[in-house]
């Protein structure tokens, strides 16, 4: 805990400007555990500042117009809300809804399908994805950081390296170090549950919390523990989103995808450019039959300000999301339930008041800083 607090206060002090200042509040991470910091990439103030600069660097795209921050915009709770799926270079549309960077430091794998094991590895891929930042390889990135005087100074200071000795490892370590400062708790729910402030939640949200824990079965994947609430089990589940669109083609398509993969097709490229491949979910990464159409459990923190929802952005409102689960993994109650549905998903028989309460609870998971962003919409 002291480590995380130190990092948070450090980053807030560093970045000063209004944007991240609210993290400086003593309880800004109420409800969150210490941020896991890899032993080989310790946090330093200079590294975090460098990472922030790299995160906003548009020269890392083929058009000079797209940075990490384009789809993970601090002014939009580090998403590109209200876009359904993200737009990269030349307004090219990908297949996935941009997940927020907020609290992503707690994930044990990155991307909706977990195809990157760490934040550092994650940062490598969008740069060279033809739909996102569109560079043919990482050489142009290295050219920028090895030749730009500001970067030369920063990399020298942070890593003691210059020229050829600066590699993508240092670049991604700095970006990840910055991203590990983007954590935020202290929502009304946190003040209610961990801060024991019974007035922090509305009666409706309190009732919704009960639905969340019991009849709604939400907490089994969106976990809450005694001293923390990450709202994710870091696992992958087929909840009937996306895969329902391709279920009639899977018998033919899934084996063909595996063959293409064995023949060397790039998974990162395929899942963002081919909508059918995208809906294979975790299966596209692991080739494991029981992961067909499954995606990572996203955190629910700040969910109310990051619409639309799900990996494909296919659900517009939290009410739609609740309906989808209430129907047992189908958005249209008359639709066919996909054959590979997770054993955790079943019809819930929630009443309309219970559904409304559950939405009120989800709306209580927004940190103070992002609540303002939600209100501004």
């Amino acid at each position: 805990m002291p480590e995380a607090r130190r990092v948070l206060l450090l980053s807030a002090g560093l970045l000063m400007s209004g944007a991240l200042a609210s993290f400086a509040s003593a309880d800004a991470n109420l409800g969150l555990p210490p941020v896991p910091i890899p032993a080989d990439n310790p946090q330093t103030a200079d590294k975090i500042a460098l990472g922030d600069k790299l995160f906003n660097e548009k020269r890392f795209s083929s058009t000079g117009e797209v940075a990490c921050a384009t789809c993970h915009d601090p002014a939009k709770a580090f998403t590109d809300s209200p876009l359904v799926t993200s737009e990269g270079i030349n307004k090219l549309k990908g297949t996935r809804n941009a997940p927020s960077v907020i609290n992503s430091a707690y994930f044990t794998s990155m991307f909706w399908d977990g195809r990157a094991p760490t934040m550092e590895k994650q940062a490598e891929l969008p740069i060279i994805n033809p739909i996102e930042m569109g560079l043919p390889n990482h050489d142009p990135v290295l050219k920028v950081v090895r030749e730009d005087p500001q970067y030369i100074a920063a990399f020298q200071k942070v890593f003691g390296k210059s020229g050829e000795r600066i590699t993508m490892l240092e670049v991604t370590q700095a970006i990840a170090a910055f991203e590990r400062t983007i954590v935020s708790g202290d929502s009304p729910f946190d003040r209610y549950y961990f801060g024991h402030d019974k007035a922090a939640l509305s009666p409706s949200a309190v009732r919704g919390f009960d639905v969340f824990l019991n009849k709604g079965r939400c907490v089994s994947c969106h976990t809450i523990e005694q001293d923390r609430a990450l709202f994710t089990d870091n696992r992958f589940h087929n909840i009937g989103v996306g895969v329902n669109r391709i279920q009639n083609e899977i018998n033919d398509f899934a084996p063909r995808f595996l063959k293409a993969k064995a023949d060397g097709v790039d998974v990162d490229n395929a899942v963002l450019s081919n909508p059918k491949a995208s809906e294979l979910g975790r299966f596209a990464v692991t080739s494991t039959l029981d992961e067909i159409g499954s995606f990572k459990t996203s955190t629910l923190r700040n969910i109310a300000v990051t619409a639309p929802f799900m990996h494909d952005g296919s659900l517009k409102t939290l009410s739609d999301v609740v309906d989808h689960y209430n129907n047992g993994g189908i958005t249209d109650p008359k639709a066919h339930v996909n054959d590979f549905l997770s054993g955790g998903i079943r019809p819930l028989n929630l009443t309309d008041p219970e559904k409304a309460d559950l939405v009120a609870f989800l709306e209580s998971l927004t940190s103070p800083r992002f609540a303002a962003q939600g209100a501004a919409k």
């Binding site: 899934a254 595996l258 080739s287 067909i292 339930v337 054959d339 054993g343």
Partner: protein, 358 residues
């Protein structure tokens, strides 16, 4: 798993190195064997327990288990040579249950062979099942292996014909566990005679695979993990050099060897045996609990269920268990120890300790 290996040894090594981490070597099987003609795969789905609630309403949980196993078996690449359904398609043997189960099985895109389970049998003594699926005991040859399917869930005539006032009660009594009114399973004299005759035409070095619903061995009588004339059936199989018995019924992974006969069980698609009372927010339709079992994750209805696909090579069978929310397991025949062994968890120190508290 990025490199395709061209011989079986390195395939197994690859699978082991990856910890059989839930990854089905879908495209690897085809390339795994030195003599492809001698080797083949089949899928084995068992114990679906399709259960009618009323009218067109069936227990959703059991439906989902069979639907998922069928859908996944259809994705195996290369396609398995055939699929075995290991018995207990229905819960109480009724026409609606058998019809509904048959419809779900009809989605399979491979040839299907069916085994009789006691839940399919004791309402009408297998009449409707036979109308749908054919004979209750039969044999066939496939790529040099002789397959025998037995109806191992018969019992003593007095119990079957004289004990019960109605067919429904007979079915219900046989469906219970720890039921003093139950009766041990039998292959029976008539079927043993048929088996002896069937095996006469098979040479001693032809690999045999015997499919039965109950274990053709005596494990636990109270739950009918038991066949009363198991020794007599084993005696008929004993002269053969390579015998594999695959059975359902037990809803858990078991493997052992008696003489030359290697036994391996199948998981159920419906529920694990035994299981704890868990997650009772909605009516569960689970049979009445007798003994608690650790269950990794009661939230997931598919947890501790699964299905299997089987590599047959040099006359021996390697059974790969596809287990939802859990790592796949591979019980392979070890030529050195001459035993079926769990590739990952055979040695005690490799096993995961049981959980004693949830």
């Amino acid at each position: 798993m990025s490199r395709l290996r061209s011989d079986r040894r390195s395939f197994l090594k690859t699978a082991t190195a990856a910890g059989v981490a839930g990854v089905l070597p879908l495209s690897l099987i085809e390339l795994s064997f030195a003599k492809p003609a001698d080797n083949f795969t089949f899928a084995y789905i068992s114990d679906a327990h399709i259960q009618q609630i009323k009218g067109t309403s069936f227990v959703r949980n059991w439906d989902r288990g069979l639907i998922r196993a069928v859908a996944e078996a259809n994705l195996l690449t290369p396609r398995p040579d055939f699929v075995i359904f290991g018995g207990d398609l229905a819960q109480l043997g009724s026409k609606p249950e058998l019809d509904h189960g048959a419809e779900l099985l009809s989605k399979l895109n491979s040839k299907l062979y069916c085994v009789m389970g006691e839940h399919d049998y004791y309402l009408d003594l297998g009449a409707y099942w036979s109308k749908l699926f054919g004979p209750q005991q039969y044999s066939f040859d496939h790529k040099g292996v002789h397959f025998v399917v037995l109806n191992s869930i018969l019992t003593y005539d007095d119990w079957t014909f004289n004990r019960w006032p109605s067919a429904e009660q007979r079915m219900a009594e046989m469906a219970g566990l720890d039921n003093p009114n139950g009766s041990p399973f039998l292959v029976g004299q008539k079927q043993r005679d048929w088996l002896a005759k069937d095996l006469k035409k098979v040479s001693r070095n032809t690999p045999l695979v015997v499919l039965s619903h109950s274990p053709l061995q005596k494990i636990y009588k109270g739950w009918n993990f038991w066949t009363d004339d198991a020794e007599q059936v084993q005696a008929l199989l004993a002269p053969f050099e390579k015998v594999t018995v695959l059975y359902g019924h037990v809803h858990q992974i078991q493997y052992n060897k008696i003489g030359a006969i290697a036994f391996t069980s199948a998981m159920a698609t419906a529920w694990p045996w035994p299981y704890p009372q868990t997650y009772a927010q909605a009516e569960s339709h689970l049979p009445k609990l007798t003994v608690q079992m650790n269950r990794a994750d009661p939230f997931f209805e598919r947890d501790a269920t699964g299905w299997q696909f089987i590599d047959v090579h040099t006359g021996r069978s390697d059974v790969r268990y596809n287990l939802y929310n859990n790592k796949s397991r591979l019980v392979a025949y070890n030529e050195q120890t001459q035993q079926p062994e769990d590739v990952d968890y055979q040695s005690p120190e490799r096993r995961t300790a049981s959980q004693s508290h949830f």
